[in-house]
Amino acid sequence: MSGARFDELIHPSTRLNLVATLAAADWAEFAFLKDRLNLSDSALSKQLATLEEAGYVATERRLEGSRRKVRARLTAAGRSAFDGHIAALREIVAGASTAEPPGR
């Protein structure tokens, strides 16, 4: 298990949803991600490109019949960053719970 590390790149809500979705899958097709995350083609392409540049996501273009399909998966670095980010968020939440005075 990786250590807690807040990740600025992952934290924005759209990217967090995207990375969390990919973290639960071995791979996902562009159409699936677009539908589940309710994003336009260009918005999803942009987010995937940002994550790919950081080495968090790998995409693969395949020709299926006459249609070109894009598949995305989280890399080991991306998975580790996501795990670290979730651990950091949990620490923040846990820290707030212990800091609250009793009776609140």
Binding site: F6, A24, A25, W27, E29, F32, V93, G95
Partner: protein, 154 residues
């Protein structure tokens, strides 16, 4: 670390959990799998009704072998659609057990239905019970699997 509010952290964790659950809902088997199994069930019913015992035994073994071959690839429930492959961790190890449990339950249901139909004087009771269970498999397979997974928290 960037300063973020505990409430924001909680909201982010909730969002990540929702995304995971959304992928977990994709666990299952393709609809075609269930219909193919239903067809196999009817075929066995026909054989059981009209063919001699050795043919029934061979057909049952062939059905079991064919299913086992397909099952080794599909039973983990990670490929319900061609759009996503759910990770093994999210699919859980119990999904194949749920499918096998369902099959055993359906066999028991087929036998029970045949006994009831036979007692009621119906002609071709084994065949009709197979047709009944095949329809249940074809129309309700995905839903039964979903409910079964929920029961065992797979």
């Amino acid at each position: 670390m960037r300063e973020i509010d505990p409430e924001q952290a909680r909201a982010a964790l909730d969002a990540a959990g929702r995304a995971r659950r959304q992928v977990a809902e994709e666990v299952g088997l393709p609809r075609g799998y269930w219909w193919a199994m239903g067809c196999g069930w009817v075929f066995l019913g026909v054989i059981g009704q009209f063919a001699p015992g050795w043919v029934v035994a061979v057909a049952t073994l062939a059905f079991g072998a064919g299913h086992a071959t397909v099952a080794s690839r599909w039973l983990d429930g990670r490929r319900r659609t061609g759009q996503v492959r759910v990770s093994a961790q999210v699919a859980g190890r119990r999904t194949p057990l749920v499918v096998i449990g369902m099959l055993l339950g359906l066999v028991a249901l087929t036998v029970a239905a045949a006994v009831v139909l036979e007692a009621d004087g119906a002609a071709h009771a084994p065949l009709w019970s197979a047709v009944l269970v095949a329809a249940i498999i074809g129309f309700g397979g995905p839903e039964m699997l979903r409910v079964g997974r929920r029961w065992v928290r797979a």
